[in-house]
Symmetry: C2
Subunit: 158 residues, 2 copies
């Protein structure tokens, strides 16, 4: 969508090996009952997660959040849940609650333990500066969630 998120560089090929980005791709392919993404490369599937600052300014925050954007936010947090499950074995639920104005919450929880909590605002503009940033932010949430799961195993299994 923008000139800055090249998807052909070798750096990008490297970043695609990130377990977090792989988890996102898996979420999207797993939900793809109509085969829309069957012939898409991973790069292409991940591309909409990159929204540069300039692009963000161009997206209006008026009205409802686009269902495709909501699906993207869900995929991101489902990937967080999936990665935590891979690492800790804890199955978790994902709840994304958005008001019509794009404000809300993204929650990942297992038992009575909240593994990830994020307040969302201007959800219409959900996205990251680069694929590296997607991987970094996602992995940060995963690490924090894993840490909590290990610290309070009893709460996670309630």
């Amino acid at each position: 969508m923008s000139a800055t998120n090249s998807v052909n560089g070798t750096a990008t090929t490297e970043v695609l090996k990130s377990p977090f980005l792989k988890a996102i791709v898996q979420q999207i392919r797993g939900q793809d009952s109509y085969g829309v993404y069957r012939n898409w490369s991973d790069e292409l599937i991940l591309k909409p997660f990159v929204v540069t600052k300039q692009k963000k300014r161009e997206i209006s925050v008026e009205g409802e959040v686009d269902p495709i954007t909501v699906a993207r936010i869900m995929a991101f947090y489902r990937a967080v849940a999936a990665r935590i499950e891979q690492e800790t074995g804890l199955l978790s639920q994902v709840v994304v609650d958005l008001s019509h104005e794009g404000f809300g919450w993204a929650l990942v929880f297992s038992g009575r333990l909240l593994l990830a909590v994020k307040t969302l605002r201007d959800a219409h503009r959900f996205g990251f500066e680069s694929l590296e940033k997607v991987a970094e932010e996602g992995e940060k949430l995963v690490q924090k969630g894993m840490e909590l799961a290990q610290r309070f195993p009893e709460v996670g299994r309630l």
Copy 2:
């Protein structure tokens, strides 16, 4: 709305003293910026929380959940949060997330601890058999939440 939920009996006057029902009334009066409920008795404010089995059958679960019903669900769970706060001092957040089909979650959390978790279905029909039942179900959630807050104080304060 129905012949069975009399609001004049002495039993009802007794049940209105329930701390949970008081908390619901407080939530609704507190949000009443236009003064709609200013001259309403507590009984009248609480009446829509009573939905008999027969009444439930009459409510269609097609389409979006009525915004007034959503507000009622929010008031119920906000009252749970308020009662837990009264008892434990823990401030909490309430998230109600409903799909268009009336399925979803009601969550009350503080820090990283989920004090109340409820899956909702047929949310269009949200309500209880009697005011006693509203008080009982609410207080049950409050007790469970308090118990968790006392058992895992560290998680609730994260």
